[in-house]
């Protein structure tokens, strides 16, 4: 007798998975169960690295990193500012860089529709869970409306799994910044002026300075720029810039690294 794979049954398999390979297998099953083109978990730089798994071609994962797309990706920026799922078409794709990314992603078969769920773990950990596909707007609205609850639950299980996996790998950071110190340095690292960061965090500039100062002392930094740089390298805050040269982990990555990005794209021209 044939048993149909459903998102719910995949959830049970996910709960039982405890290696990256098993998670990767679950991701592939889940993609089939949902009938989408791609399904990806992407943890952004809790310790200066990108870490993820899913069904994107390794060549695309590598290209995304090589091109430093994370700095301009409207999905990452949009999710960072929100806590509910984000439909890609509700984001601002008007900048030249964003349009180029979109064109490149389409050429790599990512699909014209996407739905990303931001996830936050302890110590400001930030990750995205994304499904993408090729279909019309009404079809996609119907899909996301039907499945979003399951997708949110899957996103959180995946993140718990990822946290467990990482714990075995890297030691806890020895420096602990408070949530407000993390906030302050994160906004500075994103290029906001002190006044803007203070406004976003709804605190006075004076208070913001005190957070920056306490973070600076904890980090043993000479000035604010130094503190931001140290927080990035220690992986205490999230920003696109730290990731470029960091060692990430992605199934199939070693294969992709030997592939020239130009040849990877060649088939689409």
């Amino acid at each position: 007798m044939e048993t149909r794979t459903t998102p719910r049954s995949c959830l049970a398999a996910l709960e039982a998975a405890d290696t990256l390979t098993e998670l990767q297998e679950c991701a592939i099953k889940l993609r089939t169960a949902l009938g989408v083109d791609h399904l990806v978990y992407h943890w952004i730089s809790v310790d200066g690295e990108q870490f993820g798994f899913g069904t994107y071609a390794p060549a695309w994962a590598q290209r995304y990193q090589d091109r430093d797309y994370i700095r301009i990706d409207p999905v990452v920026l949009g999710c960072f500012q929100r806590f509910r799922p984000v439909d890609w078409k509700s984001l601002d794709w008007s900048s030249r860089a964003a349009r180029d990314l979109r064109r490149d992603a389409l050429a790599h078969g990512i699909g014209n529709q996407g739905f990303s769920i931001p996830i936050r773990g302890p110590n400001g950990q930030f990750a995205l869970f994304t499904v993408s596909s090729t279909c019309t707007d009404p079809e996609w609205d119907d899909f996301t409306g039907t499945h979003q609850r399951d997708l949110i639950l899957v996103a959180h299980v995946l993140n718990d799994k990822a946290l467990q996996l990482r714990q075995g790998r890297s030691p806890q950071p020895t420096i602990q910044l408070s949530p407000r110190e993390v906030d302050a340095l994160t906004f500075l690292a994103m290029g906001y002026a002190r006044s803007q960061a203070a406004e976003i965090l709804k605190i006075s500039e004076h208070t913001l300075r005190s957070y920056i100062e306490s973070a600076r002392l904890k980090l043993g930094a000479l000035n604010t720029d130094h503190a931001v740089a140290r927080a990035l390298t220690e992986g205490l805050i999230v920003s696109g810039g730290a990731i470029r040269d960091a060692k990430g982990d992605w199934p199939g990555r070693s294969v992709a690294q030997t592939t020239d990005p130009a040849t990877a794209l060649a088939g689409n021209h």
């Binding site: 929100r82 119907d142 949110i152 639950l153």
Partner: protein
């Protein structure tokens, strides 16, 4: 119109933002006598406003605050987990439950505004696939919730009289919507439009042929 705005987006609506914080000061500090922070501009603000929460604001005319409330998901830092965990039998950390705090009505608001905010809360649950909203409220609000037919399931309370503060749950029930729309005096289409303006997708997915 009903606005759904994240904290980071409020910057673009300074008049509305300031009016909301002023009305919150009037309600929570002046009228209820809660021990809350009021800044030099007469606005009430707390630490959770700094966590980029989602605000639902009733804006009867541009820049005018008619009523509002504030949401944070229960899998992150919330007022309930920080301060009211003792009122609950268990920990609630589901991403499908959002905390609703600072439910505030402008001084001249009618009970209809409370109905409009309840409608928005329902649309959030429906549109974002939530199972429940979790609220922190005082005794007076329970009367208002009862009056608009949205009585919460109270999980726990502390204090007495008008200082009594409770934590309660509103489950998502698809069948409530028509009644809530009628009470709010808002048509389904208009509510859908407000939701779509904010989130770029419909609250009810259209049926695909």
């Amino acid at each position: 119109m009903i606005r759904y705005l994240y904290g980071a987006e409020l910057r673009s609506y300074p008049a509305l933002r300031d009016a909301m914080h002023r009305d919150r000061a009037t309600q929570f500090h002046d009228r209820l006598g809660w021990n809350v922070n009021v800044d030099e501009n007469g606005g009430e603000c707390d630490a959770y406003d700094g966590l980029n929460p989602l605000y639902v604001i009733w804006e009867p005319a541009p820049g005018v605050h008619g009523g509002s409330m504030r949401f944070l998901p229960m899998d992150g830092r919330t007022m309930v987990t920080d301060h009211f965990a003792g009122l609950l039998d268990c920990t609630i950390d589901s991403p499908l439950i959002w905390e609703c705090t600072r439910f505030c009505l402008a001084p001249d608001a009618t009970v209809k505004v409370a109905g409009i905010l309840m409608l928005a809360g329902g649309e959030l649950m429906r549109g974002h696939g939530l199972t429940h909203l979790l609220g922190v409220f005082d005794a007076r609000m329970i009367r208002i919730y009862n009056a608009i037919g949205a009585a919460p399931q109270v999980l726990g309370s502390s204090g007495t009289g008008r200082d009594r503060i409770s934590v309660g749950l509103w489950p998502y029930r698809p069948t409530d919507r028509l009644r809530v729309l009628r009470r709010a005096g808002v048509s389904s289409d208009v509510s859908e439009l407000w939701f779509r303006r904010a989130f770029g997708r419909p609250v009810t997915p259209p049926l695909v042929a």
